[in-house]
Amino acid sequence: MEIAAGLAGLLSVLMSCVVGLRLVLLSRRTRQAPEMLIGLDLILVGAGWNALIAVGRQATGLPDDVRATLVCAGGLCAVAGMACLMVFIWRTFRPERAGALVALALSVAFASLFAAQSFAPGWLAFATDERGPWTNASLFTSFNYAWASFESMRHASMLSRRVRLGLADAVVADRVRLFATLMATGTVASWIFAGFQASGVAVGGTTIGLSLGGTVCLFSVALLWLAFMPPASYLESVRRRALVEA
C-alpha cells in the first residue's frame, strides 16, 4: 500500500510540476496573469506543498532542523499557492469587489495558520508529532477549494447551456468542467482529511491516509492531463458528444 500510494503521490507531484511549468511558460508568451497564477498554484501546492511536507514528516532519519525547515517551506508553498488560486478564481470568475474580498479573506485566514504555527509551537512540532495550528490546514484549504468549486461549477453549468445554443466551444466548456471537478475533488478530500484529523484518526503515513491520498492523487492526475494536456482523441470525443447533444 505504501509503495502504491507513494507512486501515485509522485505521479501527482510530477504532473503538477509539468502542467504548472507549461502554464508559467505560456504566461511568458501571452503576458497574461491567469495562466501564471494557476501555473504557480500547481507548482507550489501540487508539487511543493505535498512533496516538502511528505519528506519533512516521513524522513525521520533527517536532522530535526532540516525536517522543520522542510515542513515550514511546504507550509509557505501552500500559503503562496492557495493565494495564487484565490486570485485566479477572483479574476477569472468573479472580477468584482465581492470576489476580491472573498479571495483576500480566504488567503489571509490560511496565512494566519502558517503564522500561528511559526509563532508556537514551531515547525519541528509539526514535523515530528503533527502538532499545532497547521493541523487545521486541511479544514482551511477546504474553504478555499469550496469557493473555487462553487464558482467554477457555476460557470461550467452556464457554459454547457451555451454549447447547446452554439454560443461556446465544447472543448473549452469541457476544460472548465474538468477544472471544476478538480476543485471539487480538492474540497471533498480536504473535508475527509479534516474529518479524520478532528476525530483523532491519524492520516499521515497510515493505511487509510495513504489509500485516500493515493486515490485522490491518481484522480487529480487524470483531470490535470485531460484539462491541460488533452490528447487529440479525447478532444475529438468531446466535440462529437457536443454535436450529438446540440
Binding site: 451555451r162 445554443l165 454560443l167 491541460f228
Partner: protein, 102 residues
C-alpha cells in the same frame, strides 16, 4: 453590478413593443438569458441575437405575448446599432488559452 447595453436595449424594446411592464420585461429577459447560460451584466450583442432567435420567442409565448417571433426578429434587427462597452476578459477566453501551452 450594471447590466450590459444589449440587455438594457432588449428590455426597453420589449417594454415598448409589448404590454409588459419594465419589471416583467427585465424578468423575462433574465430568465431567457439564464436558460442560455448567459448573464445580464456580461451578455453581448451577438449572444443576445441568438437568445432572441432561439430562446426568447418561447418565453414570450409562455407569457401570452402574441407574434413573439416577429417581435424578437424586429428587436434583433434594431439591436445592430447598439454600441457596446469594451468587454473584460471572459473565463472562456482564459480557459481557451490554458491548453495551448507547449
Amino acid at each position: 453590478m450594471a447590466e450590459s447595453k444589449a440587455f438594457d436595449f432588449v428590455c426597453s424594446e420589449l417594454e415598448r413593443r409589448t404590454s409588459m411592464t419594465r419589471l416583467e420585461a427585465r424578468g423575462t429577459v433574465r430568465i431567457a438569458l439564464k436558460d442560455a447560460g448567459l448573464a445580464a451584466d456580461s451578455v453581448r450583442g451577438p449572444e443576445m441575437q441568438v437568445v432572441l432567435q432561439r430562446v426568447m420567442p418561447k418565453e414570450l409565448t409562455a407569457r401570452g405575448v402574441a407574434a413573439s417571433e416577429d417581435i424578437c426578429r424586429a428587436i434583433g434587427a434594431a439591436m445592430t446599432g447598439v454600441r457596446e462597452d469594451a468587454a473584460a476578459e471572459t473565463p472562456e477566453a482564459i480557459f481557451g488559452r490554458l491548453a495551448g501551452a507547449r
